[in-house]
Amino acid sequence: MTTDFAPLPASASPSAAAASTTTGSIAFAPSPQEAYLMRIGDSCLIHAQRLAEWSGHAPILEEDIALTNLALDLVGQARALLAHVGQQTGFDEDQLAFLRDERDFVNVTLVELPGRRAGRDFADAVLRNLLLAAWMNVLWAKLQASNDGEVAAIAGKAVKESRYHVAHAADWVVRLGDGTDESARRMRQAVERLWPYTAELFETDAIDTAAAESGLGPMRVSLKAEWEAIVAPVFAQARLPIPASGAFRSTGSRGVHSEHLGYLLAQMQTLQRSFPGGVW
């Protein structure tokens, strides 16, 4: 393996060196079709980054391996979608992942909520895995019928991977929700924290409608019944209550994020920002 990092100028002061080697953001103005795909790709990418934070920190070694394997699938799915959008917009997948500003990311807010680093419970991680894997499973299944052949092909692979993600997350939700008093209490707290963010997964807007009308992919509201058909039986088996729906709506997929995404991006992007074009 060789590294290809641009060396820092030896004579420059640290601040000057930083300024001279920090890469600015790309100007990314996606069409509605591209934005629709970026919502999915960004949700995979940010979810993967949060899962990767557990590497070396999961409660048991097997789960450490599992979480990073899930992240690997998600990175692969994100790469495929970002590369596909990049071909249409003139950017490569790395530029789209590492050189966009926070407001240009359109992942659902649920994936960016703090993970291990902010002291969040492992219960949050396994619950989020279930909520998202079920959503992506239903979404990928419908995207197999996309009129964009590349999207349909990506979905054909990803839907099979998402089945394993759902099964694994469901195992954990039941194990903890129907486990000890302590694990059940913490799962219930995780449900209270995360459930309000699931409403965004089924919100519909102009981008969503345009995608459905053109045959690119389904409207998100059309995913809800099948998502509930996966999630509700797991909650029942885990003895977890499904909260009533509320008025709160998160807005990550419109580019308006929680305070947490900026910190995540700062860490995820720092290498490409500081060492432009650095490769493994």
């Binding site: 391996i65 799915q77 052949g149 092909a153 991977e161 195992d171």
Partner: protein, 166 residues
């Protein structure tokens, strides 16, 4: 598997590919794994059409490099590897010979891929690749690579890996 065209060069390429091993499961070749979908002869050289196993498989680039290296070493250059995503790779494409090689090196081969199975039912009928016992239990849903899970044989007490059907 796609029927290759019958030129001598294409036939030789297939022979070479039978000897290119999967870097993550070096017991079996890329053709036994079922990821080589076609070998096409163009004016400018050979095109090897490969379907990736998993979306995030880190071996994808390594496999492409190993294929071009092997073909170059056999005097069949220029050769390039292209990706074909659809139809998606499935463990059903692993050849009978590939399954036997997996078993021989201690990895339980995948069963048939039942895409319509209920989502929470995981494979419970995995036989031990060492002693053949059906009395096995899963230790971990994920193993050393994304494509495998960890099992233990209750009969002979040996741990083993299982290639997940997908």
């Amino acid at each position: 598997m796609a029927v290759p065209s019958s030129s001598a060069r294409v036939k030789r390429a297939w022979d070479v590919l039978h000897g290119v091993l999967d870097p993550e499961v070096p017991a079996i070749s890329v053709t036994d794994l079922g990821i080589v979908r076609d070998v096409v002869e163009h004016d400018g050289g050979l095109e090897i059409v490969v379907t990736p196993t998993y979306s995030g498989c880190p071996a994808t680039e390594v496999i492409a490099q190993a294929i071009t290296d092997a073909l170059t070493a056999a005097g069949l250059a220029p050769a390039r590897v292209t990706q074909r995503r659809a139809p998606a790779w499935t463990t059903d494409w692993i050849t009978p010979r590939g399954r036997e090689k997996l078993r021989a090196c201690g990895i339980a081969p995948p069963g048939a891929c039942a895409s319509a199975a209920p989502i929470r039912l995981m494979a419970r009928d995995v036989d031990c690749p060492h002693c053949g016992s059906a009395q096995t239990e899963r230790l971990s849903a994920f193993g050393s690579t994304a494509c495998k899970s960890l099992y233990r044989c209750v009969a002979c007490r040996e741990p083993f890996e299982h290639f997940k059907p997908i």
